[in-house]
Amino acid sequence: MEIPTMVNPEINLSDLPDVEAVTFLPVSEKYRTMRLALWGSVQVLLLAALLSPYLLYRFGGEEDLAAFSQWWWPVAAQAVLAILWGLEEWKGFERRGYAVRDRDITYRTGWLFRSTTTVPFGMIQHSELSQGPISRMMGLNHLKIFTAGGSGNLRIAGLAEEDAQTLRSVIEGRTRR
């Protein structure tokens, strides 16, 4: 569809509706718990994997593993990464949110790596609610929004049941197909 030039004459750039001016709605607080639980369990597993050769050498008498006696190096590296990831999850959760305008939806994530994506309703091909076993236990829903080509797909994770249903019906009402 071409833009008819007659209908669209002068554009005053400062008068355009501003995406930043909207209020972002947070996702469910339970999703923070889920993310932090994921963070914690990955850290525990990693720590176990990093320390096991040292423990085998120290207490299991495996002399071949003597090289792992300097266990603090890998553990320190892991700690640094864990802190960065933890910060991203903790501070990033406060920035995680979505905003619905009349004609588009905006999703914002991340603290270290920030991203704000806006998808016009007119371009949405279909949407999908999905749940894994853990998110089902916690009553969380992930809303996926599909656009042509797949490059602009959005995944709004960790929505409470009723929010997810509302958002979905809003999207379906405003999508043209």
Partner: protein, 495 residues
């Protein structure tokens, strides 16, 4: 010619042979390890009976497939029924069709038939191929589908569909775009990127030398010690000719592949579509409506630019996950071809009103420089005469190229188009339409956020295009503008 497309029809009977060839090819591709394994065993004459047996089975398969393959046109969709054990009925809505392509492989050329391929942007990525249709029939179907692809036009009800495709009304005026003769083909072939071709060349040279090596070592074993030194010298002398041979094979490979692909390329610009034909062994005829083009990209290296050529890449909507999507390359486009093309496809560029004119933040220059200069720092860490010289030379070179690279990055946003220019040695110019945007993203990491710098990403149906390191205020204004343009082109209020 009155072609009743609404009646279910089969392909041309000779299609059985083409289908059989196609299936045999698939069988051969899937079964070659088994064949290789068998050939090591004891072969009795009756083992060879497998070949006619397989051929019979494949032939029968092709025949049944042909019998059960039908296609026709309904009010708003192309219908294809196919399948032997599992019947399927494909329904392809006209508006989902991205491109209709006619193709003639060697067998089709022999029989005077043509294949027709319909590409969709469906998430299944599954397209439909008719392999054997009479040329007239295929052209009629192509014309008909082409006229329906944009959806019903004004003054044309959705009722008067199937049947009556009258070619004289469907042919708008078309201006010739680019056509390639022998000289152009050779120029394109020589200015190809030879690195990939050279690897093929290398493989050939290596395989030639494999046998030689053994003979040479056997020969050396029989030589007196003194002669060995000369033999070593001779071996070194061989390197140069083999390099030359490799280069020659590389260039020859690119020239041959260019000739096969772009033989007698001829393209025209219609009122609202681009048509194109090319190819020697497999001749393709494309018809791409402008509306279904989601990205165009002009690429050139310094050699091409010296010849005044650019390569155009046209990209249509991709399927889910970035697979598929029709991509068409047209080489040897000259400056006037480009302006003719852009005038039709992006009329707002010709109108010339630049809404945003963006260059990246100066910080990018330092980031690029730091990355490029890092090898020099490694060398300079052990300062000796030669190292210092090398390091300084590298720094000088890098300083110069980085400046060029940085100043080549440029984005211009028009009423309905974004033009991204990148690269200095290999130059690309990418164009997308604002009205076709699928989403706009603003991203940056925490350190850049403090400097109020970030990247803007345009999500299109043909993939994402990024312009990095731009000023925050400008980027946010650009995002608002882009969204406004999408909404005013598609908004529910606008129509």
């Amino acid at each position: 010619m009155n072609l009743d497309l609404a009646v279910p029809r089969r392909q041309h009977p000779l299609g059985v042979i083409i289908l059989a060839t196609k299936f045999s090819w698939h069988v051969a591709k899937a079964g070659w390890p088994a064949l290789l394994g068998l050939s090591f065993g004891n072969i009795k004459w009756y083992h060879l009976l497998v070949v006619p047996a397989v051929f019979l089975v494949v032939g029968g398969f092709a025949f049944v497939y042909y019998l059960r393959f039908r296609f026709y046109v309904e009010a708003d969709a192309l219908i294809v029924e196919r399948g032997i054990f599992q019947r399927e009925r494909l329904q392809i809505p006209f508006e989902r069709i991205q491109a209709v392509q006619l193709f003639q492989g060697p067998i089709q050329q022999l029989f005077g038939l043509t294949g027709l391929r319909v590409d969709t942007a469906g998430s299944s990525g599954n397209e439909v191929e008719l392999v054997a249709v009479k040329l007239m029939e295929a052209e009629g179907l192509q014309q008909f589908l082409r006229s329906k692809m944009d959806g019903p036009r004004e003054g044309e009800s959705a009722q008067d569909v199937a049947g009556s495709s009258s070619p004289d009304t469907a042919l708008p005026e078309a201006d010739p775009l680019v056509s390639l003769g022998w000289a152009d083909l050779l120029k394109v072939g020589f200015s190809q990127n030879h690195i990939r071709s050279a690897f093929i060349g290398l493989a050939v040279v290596m395989s030639l030398f494999q046998g030689v090596e053994e003979q040479v070592s056997a020969w050396i074993a029989g030589l007196p010690v003194m002669a060995l030194a000369f033999a070593g010298l001779a071996a070194t002398a061989l390197i140069l000719p083999s390099l030359v041979l490799m280069m020659f094979i590389g260039v020859a490979t690119s020239v041959v592949s260019v000739v096969l692909k772009y033989w007698k390329l001829h393209s025209t610009l219609g009122e609202d579509s681009l048509s194109l034909q090319m190819g020697l062994l497999r001749r393709n005829v494309f018809e791409v409506p402008f509306q279904k083009i989601h990205l165009t990209e002009w690429k050139s290296n310094w050699l091409r630019r010296a010849l005044g050529y650019e390569t155009l890449r046209i990209q249509q909507a991709q399927a889910e996950g970035g697979r598929g999507g029709v991509r068409i390359f047209i080489p040897a486009m000259q400056a006037h071809h480009r302006s003719a093309m852009e005038e039709r496809l992006y009329p707002d560029i010709t109108a010339g009103e630049v809404v945003f004119d963006v260059v990246p933040a100066r910080r990018l220059r330092w980031i690029l420089l730091a990355f490029a200069a890092s090898p020099a720092l490694v060398v300079l860490s052990s300062p000796q005469g030669v190292n210092v010289l090398m390091g300084l030379l590298w720094l000088g070179l890098v300083f110069w190229t980085t400046g060029r690279r940085y100043s080549s990055l440029h984005m211009k946003v028009y009423r309905n188009a974004v033009v991204l220019e990148r690269g200095w040695f290999w130059r690309t110019r990418t164009l997308i339409k604002l009205s076709q945007l699928q989403g706009v993203e603003w991203k940056r990491h925490a350190l850049l956020e403090r400097r109020r710098i970030g990247h803007i990403v345009f999500h299109t149906a043909a993939g994402a295009e990024r312009f990095g390191y731009m000023d925050k205020g400008k980027a946010l204004a650009l995002r608002n503008f882009a969204l406004n343009q999408v909404h005013s082109a598609h908004g529910r209020g606008a129509d």
